[in-house]
């Protein structure tokens, strides 16, 4: 395990920049998540850390050891690939054993077997150990791929890289493994870098995370910091489940008037309101709107409401029923609203 530093890392594919001046320091033993949409550069970052791809510019440093020019074989990283990358002609057990048998990693057969059964148990793939990858379903393959990375934790691995390792599992397993991964990582105390486009997953496991948009780092912080202080509208637009409502404040509108009245920053061009930070009622006051659609989700329901400035998603209790087309009033908790300037950068608000 070690600290991982990315120093002004840039990667071009032809003319296309995939990573643009990425600068971040991942702490020793940290569970660090790279959060971004597909194509943001998450996999590229991991591949550059692993040494599979060479950066066009910049440096990768493990501890105080610069890694540029050192091949992946000698970086001692463990990695789970988004596309699984299993070895097709050897069994699941042999796939899991493969990284343990590399030259220079003298791990005895008993220890190897112990690790394989432990990881197989964790990922529920014990009955599959004698199968070939071609005989597995997509979710099973993904678990084997994850297992091949986890089997090495605690063997002096400098960093574990997980590229969307549970994206293709069913909801039950995904939810359960999320917690298990976190537990496993803390127990083994390995520096882990985890790429995910999924908000819930990313914010649930991370010690800290980095928001990557179009190859640029837009924000680095703890999940709480990012939730309470999203750096700009792009970041704010990616977080929350459902995501934060971002509404334009044009000067003459009712929304802008009310926002000012409740202490909005004079330069604010956009207001961000969490779906849980607004109430709906049928009395007077608030922002007038029209119910667009209702999604009942058990105890809660998501109500989409058309208001001046955009369409909001509001989380309410299911006990209240709303009909599409019905006029409704939205009461935001203004004291918790986030304000962003004309360039999208955060300028205030968002008290807890």
């Amino acid at each position: 395990m070690s600290q991982v530093e990315l120093r002004s890392l840039t990667k071009h594919y032809g003319r296309q920049p995939a990573l643009d001046n990425v600068e971040v320091s991942i702490r020793d033993g940290e569970f660090f998540v790279i959060f971004g949409r597909p194509g943001a550069g998450k996999s590229t970052t991991l591949k550059v850390i692993a040494g599979i791809e060479d950066p066009t510019d910049g440096q990768v440093v493990f501890g105080d050891q610069p890694m540029n020019g050192i091949p992946p074989q000698r970086r001692n990283v463990a990695m789970a690939f988004e596309s699984y990358a299993l070895y097709p002609h050897i069994s699941v057990a042999a796939n899991l054993e493969f990284p343990l048998k590399a030259p220079g990693r003298s791990i005895g057969i008993d220890e190897r077997q112990r690790r394989i059964s432990e990881v197989a148990e964790l990922l529920e793939i014990t009955p599959l150990l004698n199968r070939r990858p071609s005989q597995l379903s997509g979710g099973q393959r993904q678990r084997v791929s994850l297992g091949r990375a986890l089997v090495r934790s605690g063997t002096g691995v400098s960093v574990t890289l997980l590229d969307e390792p549970i994206a293709h599992l069913d909801a039950r397993l995904r939810h359960w493994l999320r917690g298990e991964l976190r537990h496993y990582q803390q127990k083994a105390d390995t520096t882990t870098v985890y790429a995910s486009p999924d908000y819930v997953e990313a914010f649930a496991v991370a010690d800290r995370l980095m928001v990557l948009i179009d190859g640029r780092v837009r924000q680095v912080g703890t999940p709480l910091e990012i939730q309470t202080h999203p750096a700009d509208t792009d970041v704010a637009g990616m977080i929350g489940d459902p995501k934060m409502n971002l509404l334009g404040l044009d000067s003459s509108g009712e929304l802008a008037r009310q926002a000012r009245q409740h202490g909005a920053h004079p330069a604010a061009a956009t207001v961000g309101i969490w779906p849980t930070d607004a109430k709906l009622d049928r009395t007077q006051g608030g922002i007038p709107g029209t119910v667009y659609v209702v999604e009942p989700l058990g105890e809660d329901a998501i109500v989409r409401v058309d208001v001046p400035g955009g369409r909001m998603q509001i989380k309410t209790s299911s006990s209240q029923t709303y009909r599409p087309g019905e006029p409704i009033n939205v009461h935001p908790a203004w004291e918790r609203a986030h304000y962003f300037g004309g360039d999208g950068a955060r300028i205030g608000g968002g008290a807890l």
Partner: protein
């Protein structure tokens, strides 16, 4: 009407393949000579073949050419394909250079190599002499003549094996190789556990096609040694040609080619059967690993 539409290719197939084949089989059961004489002899020709030392030598030579030649070409072709595939630049040029021999007609190849290997005036011996090695009787000594044919055949056909395997390599997914690098695998293990197994389908195609072709080896031998010295490099197709068309013993020559055909069919079928079985068998190493694990757990449970 629909039969009319497939009539041309069908007629072509009959004219080119089926009629000559049936005719050859029929010929092999007669004592027909090139002047038109002779009659039905049943399996006499085949009985004669068994005892014919010339035929047995040619048959042995053919089998050796196939086994040694194709094995050597496969190993060389695979090595070349791996080497070229790993080049970071200049792949296109090297590929072209390697493929050149394939584009030359076999008779020309024979001519080129006969010149190169000529004992007295050939450049190969010239080079050997220049570095102080005694000249070698490439085409007149029976062992060296045999080796020379192997070399020339390999020179012309290794590029074919290379082409098939290189194309196979290019279609392999890149991720398992990236994973292997991250997993710290040595070059040898990557090759043995990943590259080679993934290349098996392409290897089967290359070896089978080459083996079938090599059984019919004719042109290179015909031009370079004519089967000599003393039949040391004669092949079945060469002997069949001499017997049927030079000596005019059509029936007997036909019997030789029929034996050749049956051999090729038998080998192709057996190898396909073996491969099918090998590929459908569950992975043994995985099963063993699992069994070992199971017994280990039992030991722990029973103290």
């Amino acid at each position: 009407m629909k039969y009319l539409l497939i009539a041309p290719p069908l007629a072509f197939f009959f004219a080119i393949s089926l009629i000559p084949l049936v005719y050859t089989v029929w010929l092999s059961l007669t004592s027909t000579n090139i002047a038109g004489g002779g009659g039905w002899v049943g399996f006499d020709n085949y009985a004669r073949l068994l005892a014919d030392t010339f035929f047995r030598q040619a048959y042995g030579n053919t089998v050796l050419f196939v086994v040694i030649g194709v094995a050597a070409q496969y190993v060389l072709g695979l090595a070349l394909a791996l080497a070229v595939h790993s080049l970071t630049r200049g792949q296109r040029l090297v590929r072209l250079a390697i493929l050149l021999p394939l584009m030359i007609a076999p008779l020309i190849v024979g001519f080129i190599w006969q010149t190169l290997l000529d004992s007295r005036y050939g450049p190969v011996n010239g080079l050997l002499r220049a570095v102080g090695i005694d000249p070698v009787a490439w085409l007149t000594d029976s062992s060296f003549a045999f080796i020379s044919i192997l070399i020339v055949d390999a020179w012309q056909w290794t590029p074919f094996v290379f082409l098939v395997l290189y194309a196979g390599l290019r279609t392999l997914p890149t991720e398992p190789f990236e994973a292997a690098r991250v997993d710290g695998a040595s070059g040898w293990r990557t090759f043995a556990d990943i590259t080679f197994p993934m290349l098996i389908p392409a290897s089967i195609a290359a070896i089978l096609l080459r083996a079938i072709e090599a059984f019919k080896l004719f042109d290179i031998v015909f031009y370079i040694t004519g089967g000599g010295p003393g039949g040391a490099t004669g092949t079945v197709s060469l002997l069949g040609y001499f017997t049927a068309l030079r000596s005019g013993n059509m029936g007997y020559g036909a019997a030789m080619t029929v034996v050749l055909l049956l051999t090729v069919i038998a080998i192709a079928l057996t190898s396909l059967l073996i491969l099918q079985r090998a590929l459908s068998r569950p992975d043994l190493s995985g099963e063993q690993a699992f069994a070992r694990r199971q017994s280990r757990t039992r030991e722990v449970e029973h103290g």
